[in-house]
């Protein structure tokens, strides 16, 4: 296949930047000045020499045709990924002013591309046999899983005891006990190899300081944690789908072994959340034919950007495989059949009433679910006291925004885009309210990122 594809927009390129500083540095390099011998090939390779502070220019090459998103190589010492040179080169290429002409790649770029393609080929041919050999001795794997299950069981039992103690003494005492108590319990859960329990326990620690109404929130979360413990301890009696959900909520590794589903997947939103240890990137996709919404997760070590980057508004012709568990939307990206391409495709929407019902229904499969992805059709952002809501244009109902969403700059892009008129909004709808992630103007026009 020839993969020149349509050129990306500058916004789509900038969405690849690992952080704001790179975005700025990259956009400064997105002009012809420092570049020489820049070019692009019909196979989706873009290359160029960028003059830096040293005497030798940096060699930058980007492979945009690759299945797993663009790949970069640059001779600069930066540990940012992609580095500002790769971003600048892509911006130059996206800029359409003829700065990057078509041509054949120079040797240094060719070598890298060849090497990559070769490795990809090997991986593909070695794929099926490789995965089974990775499993190693099935008997040893089973024993390992059993040992881990025992430790999780011990952890869940201990956590049940702590929750019971807490409720016996009263939540009011938790307010005085402070953060330390929960940190220690969370550490115990990490020892028990139940990272899902550990992060929920850590969340509990922050609730007593979360403002008015904290006892309600704390009781809710304690109860759901209790429910998860009980789900684990009684997992033999659960239906298979729910048991898988419990395992994934506990934090046991699963593999995306669902049947691959090929579709034209529209990138609805991409956003990162970070804590001290890890940057988590969430990418929401919507399949045009299957009408399914799926979530891709990728991780980067603290301060590093996760590798997978898919600009909002592109579609990719690709296969996704679902992770196990009832009501789980997480999937893994399988083979991609063409590079991501711009599209006018939009997800179908619903009313606010349907969105609320969708969340309620989803809790049947996964009672620990905080929110579900939905697209709202014809909603108007409206101020509501100190916060905001998305009001149906044609009905007297509305979904309030979450407190965090109402405090983000994206809110104002949404309000400006709407100007009091209906817009289409994709976001996450849950018990805390609605978090808008992407918006489309009513009739036509490109999606606007809100996160």
């Amino acid at each position: 296949m020839t993969q020149q594809g349509a050129r990306w927009s500058a916004e789509q390129v900038l969405a690849l930047a690992p952080d704001a500083a790179s975005r700025k540095a990259g956009s400064k390099l997105g002009a012809a000045g420092p570049w020489s011998e820049a070019g692009s090939s019909g196979e989706g390779t873009v290359w160029g020499l960028c003059k830096g502070s040293g005497s030798k220019p940096y060699q930058t090459v980007v492979d945009i045709a690759d299945a797993a998103g663009p790949a970069y190589k640059c001779s600069c010492p930066s540990r940012k990924f992609p580095c500002k040179h790769a971003l600048g080169l892509l911006l130059l290429w996206a800029g359409e002013d003829g700065a990057v002409g078509a041509g054949a790649p120079p040797d240094w770029a060719e070598q890298w591309i060849e090497g990559r393609r070769q490795r990809a080929q090997e991986k593909r041919s070695a794929g099926p046999s490789g995965s089974s050999s990775a499993a190693g001795d099935p008997e040893a794997a089973r024993r390992r899983a059993e040992r881990r299950a025992e430790r999780v069981t011990a952890g869940a039992t201990e956590l049940e005891q702590r929750l019971a103690d807490l409720l016996r003494g009263g939540l009011a005492s938790a307010e005085q006990a402070g953060y330390g108590l929960w940190e220690e319990t969370a550490a115990r859960m990490v020892d028990a190899q139940a990272p899902g329990l550990a992060s929920r326990v850590r969340e509990l620690g922050s609730l007593p300081a979360s403002g008015p109404g904290w006892p309600v929130r704390l009781l809710e979360e304690c109860a759901l944690l209790h429910l998860l413990d009980q789900g684990w301890l009684g997992r033999e009696r659960l239906p298979e789908g729910l048991a898988a959900t419990v395992r994934s909520r506990i934090g046991l590794p699963g593999s995306a072994d669902g049947p691959p589903l090929r579709d034209r997947w529209l990138v609805l939103a991409q956003y990162d959340t970070a804590d001290a240890r890890l940057t988590t990137r969430r990418i929401w996709l919507h399949g045009a034919d299957s009408n399914r919404t799926a979530l891709l997760l990728s991780y980067g070590a603290a301060g590093r950007s996760p590798e997978l980057a898919l600009p909002v508004g592109l579609t990719l012709d690709a296969e996704l495989s679902a992770y196990p568990g009832a009501g789980q939307l997480r999937a893994a990206l399988g083979e991609q059949f063409a590079p991501p391409a711009p599209t006018a495709q939009r997800p179908p929407g619903m009313t606010t009433t349907q969105a609320a019902a969708r969340y309620g229904t989803a809790l049947r499969d996964d009672p620990w679910l905080d929110s579900v992805p939905v697209t709202l059709d014809r909603v108007i952002p409206a101020p509501d006291g100190t916060s905001w809501q998305l009001a149906d244009a044609d009905e007297d109902t509305a979904l309030p925004l979450t407190h965090t969403a109402a405090a983000r700059p994206g809110l104002w892009r949404l309000v400006a885009l709407s100007g009091g008129a209906p817009v289409k909004v994709f976001g996450e709808c849950g018990h805390r309210g609605f978090t808008p992630l992407t918006a489309w103007p009513e009739d036509s026009g490109e999606p606007v990122r809100l996160c």
């Binding site: 012809a32 000045g33 019971a164 939540l171 209790h226 309620g360 009091g420």
Partner: protein
């Protein structure tokens, strides 16, 4: 969202509240409701709370819609071409600036925002809605951007600013936004706002009206003149500068008798800008008595007899009697008289000579500096290009580059009275003769983009400075101006300057590399500006 009031199979209303109370106090003190057999009280409480939590979440319903905002007014302007919209997003994203860091070869995008906005406004494009927040934030941080940014942002930005207190400045700055000006045709409303409005509103009203109908604005001012405070009178009088004409003379003449000295001085200044006013004629008589041509010398020479006193009538005409420290009072009075005298009177007074001939006459007894400086002020005030040309002299004249009778600041002001092409030619000649070290101020008054001869002489001078072996940051001001003002078409003449030259003996170490970098940045910026202009063409 609303909690459902009572799901069908709810045990009893208030169960959740009882659970919360029991949890808060602890099961040792309060027995929770229900309580399954065989379970410990805390575990039973958690069981019940889990059921209730999921039930409550599953039962969530949308809230009642609040009052929706009025739709923003339609923007009838053409949509921005897609490439231009992306460019604007980039320019706005760069707002932080690169304070402290070395700039390298990358263009300074922040500095290009003003001209991008001017170009977009000139073509009448509408701002993309989703970029309005970034645009308003940029205008909030930089007051110099506000007029162009708000004009471009249009009515939707005003609509938006009503919803966000951070952008309140947009309401103040936009007529019809916050405190709406009445339609100026409506005399009754105009009069009411004039009488009852706040000071800022009244100034805005007066200048708006003065723009439309100078006489009406003056008449409005006269209605309340006597009762205004002195500071306010001064501000209001100042707004008469726009559209100043002979019809204003009686009012200004009356203001010469004002109680406040500042008001009197401003009135006199305005009158002296009207060459046919009675004040100008009185000043001409006074100044004429001080200046004459002495034909007894071999070369006709101007002699100056400065006034011996500053009498009451002079003070009434705005002459400030007390000289600033360090200046002789007689020369101080003399300067003020000449400054306020119509320039046209000098030709008759000095033997029918042209301005050029008059300026060329020698002046006796060291009076030349005082006399020429006063003529400069008069030429600027009366916007007289003939006199300005005569006083500027030839750009290549040796005294033009150094401290002469006319300073650089005065030259910059004199240049302002010439048309753009003549101004550019003069500055080009100046740079060719004197180099760049004194040119910054003069370049600042030239029209953008620079005319071809001016641009070339700046580039040549930079090239010469490089060859002379100095560092480029000695010229960073001119470089920055060149990046913003040079015609992008000039980029082709700069190609040869981007290479790192071989280091010569007399050059400062490493200077060649820095120069190459500075020229690369210049070329990059010019290309970027050309691309920006092309994108806006669509």
């Amino acid at each position: 969202m609303n909690r459902t009031s009572a799901p069908v199979d709810a045990p009893a209303p208030g169960v959740w509240e009882e659970l919360v109370t029991a949890a808060l106090l602890g099961t040792e003190r309060r027995t929770p409701p229900g309580g399954a057999a065989g379970r410990e009280a805390p575990v039973a409480l958690l069981d019940a709370a889990a059921v209730e939590t999921v039930r409550r979440r599953a039962g969530l319903r949308p809230a009642r819609a609040a009052v929706r905002p009025e739709p923003a007014p339609e923007d009838a302007r053409a949509a921005l071409p897609a490439a231009a919209a992306r460019r604007l997003a980039l320019l706005l994203a760069d707002r932080g600036g690169t304070a402290g860091g070395r700039r390298g070869t990358a263009p300074d995008l922040t500095e290009l925002l003003p001209q991008w906005l001017a170009a977009a406004n000139a073509r009448g494009f509408a701002a993309p809605a989703h970029l309005l927040p970034a645009l308003l934030d940029a205008a909030r941080g930089r007051t110099d951007l506000r007029p162009a940014a708000l004009a471009f942002a249009g009515l939707r930005a005003v609509w938006l600013a009503r919803l966000n207190p951070d952008w309140r400045f947009a309401l103040r700055a936009t007529p019809g936004g916050g405190a709406a000006l009445p339609r100026l045709e409506d005399e009754e409303q105009t009069r009411r706002l004039w009488q009852e409005g706040l000071f800022a509103e009244r100034v805005a009203l007066l200048s708006a009206l003065r723009d439309r109908d100078p006489a009406a604005a003056r008449e409005l001012l006269v209605t309340t003149w006597q009762t205004e405070r002195a500071e306010d009178r001064l501000m209001f009088l100042d707004s008469l500068r726009t559209g100043l004409g002979p019809q204003d003379e009686p009012f200004l003449e009356q203001a010469l008798a004002d109680r406040s000295r500042n008001v009197r001085a401003t009135a006199a200044e305005l009158l002296s800008a009207l060459p046919d006013s009675a004040l100008a004629a009185r000043m001409a008589v006074r100044a004429g008595a001080c200046v004459s041509v002495d034909r007894t010398h071999a070369v006709p020479t101007i002699t100056v007899q400065a006034p011996r006193e500053c009498d009451a009538s002079m003070e009434r005409d705005g002459v400030v009697a007390k000289a600033p420290a360090g200046r002789g009072e007689r020369s101080w009075w003399f300067g003020q008289l000449v400054e306020a005298t119509p320039l046209a009177t000098w030709s008759g007074r000095l033997g029918g000579r042209s301005p050029g001939e008059i300026v060329a006459l020698p002046v006796a007894d060291d009076w030349q500096g005082e006399l020429h400086a006063a003529w400069c002020r008069a030429a600027v005030r009366q916007r007289d290009p003939d006199w300005a040309r005569a006083l500027l002299g030839a750009p290549s004249a040796p005294e033009a580059g150094g401290p002469g009778a006319v300073s650089l600041a005065e030259r910059a002001k004199l240049l302002g009275t010439l048309d753009a092409a003549e101004r550019a030619d003069w500055v080009a000649g100046f740079i060719a003769a004197h180099g760049l070290s004194e040119a910054f101020q003069l370049l600042g008054v030239c029209a953008v983009p620079w005319a071809a001869p001016l641009g070339r002489s700046v580039v040549d001078a930079l090239d010469i400075a490089r060859d002379a072996g100095s560092y480029p940051w000695s010229f960073s001001g001119v470089m920055g101006l060149a990046e913003r003002c040079l015609d992008p078409a000039e980029a082709i003449h700069l190609d040869g300057l981007q290479a790192v030259p071989d280091e010569s003996e007399h050059a400062s170490p490493g200077a060649g590399g820095y120069w190459a970098e500075a020229f690369q940045r210049l070329v990059t910026t010019l290309r970027l500006r050309a691309a920006m202009a092309e994108e806006l063409e669509g």
